[in-house]
């Protein structure tokens, strides 16, 4: 019995790896290696960077059993603000502008969640509505264009640098620092953390701030990539990120089973999956169908029901 449980747990941990390998190899074969042509890898990188960075940020929230619905529009707003700044002051001013905007929104989220005790999901949903309106006001309705030189800033080395930095930094922060440990602890048992004299609220706010800052950065990335800010920027981010995290086996309830690699694996899986399907010329709807089924199956298999009393 105990052996069975053990093996079961192991399987759960390796499942994301298997999933990624299977999907990658499968599509590598189906697309006759096209999946790994430099162009396609680049396109995977360009689309995947949003999901990857987003998921990395989201993992900290998940670890604490929190969520953030507003990241998508947070990204939109940051992008818009950055664009305005770039046009009025200087293109380099856009970077801090974007990140700061996201960061501030993160702070507000964190404070609302911790102080008012509203369910994180609902609180951030409210925030989402507010930002949705906000982005339109900032853009004054129409699309904004940044100076041309903007697109020059966003070079491949920069992207790779960002990705590496975030993976390494994220790993260190999550697995090797007090913050990461406490985050997991909060997910595992808030009361115990409280009775150990740790100020959980502080850590929650930090997590939201990180998430916000990342969303802001993504806003800037989008601006630098496309040179324009629209009201539809980042709308789909939230769901992609959530799918990625869950696919990677990151439990929503948080706790010690939250693993950083889950986030990365999930993001990679999603990106490879979607680009593979595009190369195979699947229509958007079929792609979504496949994604949905894989999503359900994967979570059904690797969801950790061990320490859940009631499954809501």
């Amino acid at each position: 019995m105990s052996f069975l449980k053990k093996s079961n747990i192991n399987f759960r941990t390796i499942f994301p790896f298997l999933g990624l390998i299977i999907i990658v190899t499968l599509f590598a074969i189906l697309t006759k290696g096209k999946l790994f042509s430099l162009v396609s890898l680049r396109s995977i990188m360009n689309d995947g960077i949003y999901v990857l960075l987003g998921t990395i940020g989201f993992t900290f929230l998940f670890a604490m059993g929190c969520m953030d619905f507003s990241i998508g529009y947070n990204m939109g707003v940051s992008c818009a603000v950055a664009c305005v700044v770039a046009n009025t002051f200087h293109i380099y001013a856009a970077i801090p502008a974007a990140i700061l905007t996201g960061l501030c929104i993160g702070i507000v989220n964190g404070i609302v969640v911790t102080k008012t005790r509203i369910m994180p999901m609902i609180a951030t949903m409210g925030m989402m509505f507010i930002l949705q309106g906000g982005v339109l006001i900032i853009l004054n309705g129409s699309v904004l264009q940044a100076p041309l030189s903007m697109t020059g800033m966003y070079t491949n080395p920069l992207k790779i640098f960002l990705i590496i930095i975030f993976i390494i930094g994220g790993y260190v922060l999550f697995e090797m620092t007090v913050f990461g440990r406490v985050a997991k602890a909060i997910g595992a048992c808030p009361e115990a953390v409280r009775q150990t004299g740790i100020n959980a609220d502080k850590y929650k706010v930090i997590a939201y701030v990180i998430m916000g800052a990342i969303a802001g950065l993504l806003g800037f990335i989008s601006l630098a990539r496309t040179g324009s800010a629209t009201n539809s920027t980042g709308v789909t981010l939230m769901f992609n990120v959530m799918n990625a995290a869950l696919l990677g086996g990151v439990p929503m309830t948080g706790g010690p089973t939250t693993k950083f690699r889950g986030a990365v694996l999930g993001a990679l899986t999603i990106s490879f999956l979607s680009s593979g399907m595009t190369i195979l010329r699947m229509s958007a709807q079929n792609q979504q169908l496949v994604k949905g089924i894989i999503f359900l199956a994967a979570i059904g298999i690797c969801f950790d029901r061990k320490n859940m009393k009631v499954i809501k």
Binding site: A185, C189, A192, N307
Partner: protein, 499 residues
Amino acid sequence: MDKMEPLLKVAHMCKSFGITKALQDVSFSLRRGQILGLIGENGSGKSTATSIIASLQQADSGKMFLEGEPYEPKNSVEAISNGVCMILQEKGTFDLLTVAKNVFVGKEEMFVKHGFLDNREMVKEAQKALDVIHAGHIRAEARLSSLNFEDRKLVEVARAIYSNPRILVVDETTTALSRNGRDILYGIMRKMKKEGKSVIFISHDLDEIMEVCDTVTILRDGIYIDTLEKSDFHPPTLRKLMVGREVADNYYRADMESCKNKEVVFRMKNIFCKDVKDVSFELHKGEILGFGGLGDCGMHILGNVAFGLTEPDLGQVEAGDGTVIRNPTVAMKKKIAYISKNRDQETLMVSCSIKDNICLASYDKIAKGPFIFRKDENAFIDAHSKDLEIKMQDTNQYIMELSGGNKQKVALAKWLGFGADIFILDCPTRGIDIGVKANIYQLMMELRKQGKSIIMISEELSEVIGMSDRVIILKEGKISGAFKREEELTELMLIEYMV
């Protein structure tokens, strides 16, 4: 009356949780129209026995006979259908539902008339049920959340009575009730008695036991001791039977000198909290201060207050140097440690590894800057888990796989590692087998030698007496007595202050 076949017969019932034997070969029987009082100290197995009868849990071995028929219900529903019904100590109602729905939850179909649930009828019936138990002051259509705790209990009672049980089990319910509520309950019990039905009544309040019961069965450490008829009820005898649990081998403190050091390290100034009324005391350096009392005498909340988890209504908690302890963070700055009574929910993260749990309190010690390195952690663990000899495969083992004793050791290790000076231990030996108990007592003594102070809150009088330099007994939230450590201090004396 005795000639008759007993209504319920319990034979050779055994039940054990892990290593703790809650019930050992307990047998007793219940006549028709009898109110059987079940008494014994905390953890003597009363609640276990009754909850097995109401089949909230299953016995390991043993038989039960209902009117001679073998009676083995699978779940509480079957038990109820067999006319065995239990009123629990803790909350058993749905706050968002109306009183009526609470009374009939799970039985709604009774009122479904050709597809329509007749709420009016339900309310009427519920009101009847409430009137029957003379709790008519509760409006059946009201939302339960609008009622106070006592009325909620009464709603439960109404629910139980409505199912018209042959055997009603009342488990320490009265403690939650005011005089009025108690009278209502007694009324019900007498009524049932008249109707030839039976009641099993658990209470700590000897007076009320003697007031209502015709027979009393005493349990001690899960062993059947004796059964007395009303005629020979005498508080002293009862108390004698209740206590005096013989101790296998004396693993308590041998010495009898109480703490000489007069330096105050911790202080409570007339604390008022919901169950605590005007409690103040001082804790000296290198002293073990024992708190005794019944489960609901407010001592557990006192523990919370002491660690700054619950803000007292009045009064304040101070460390030796007079800094007020507002919240756990401050408490920890003052090197105060707290282990809660329900360890698994509040003190330990059962889904985490031993390592995580031990380190949680001391990350700022372990961390180099913001970073934590495996080797530092392991070093820390080794330093603090060794001397406790926790039985484990390795420090990455999950807490939930450990035995109660080892869990408690982990909890202690966490605070030892943190290097606390004042320990607030709430039921430190709860659900722990003799062996580990001994270790923990050893540890406490060592700590005492090192000049650390301990507040031990315990429901086991023997250990309170056995371990503490001073004993404070709480009764209904007030300090009812304080005693120095001395030979002639016996449980018997203390019990009088408790009940």
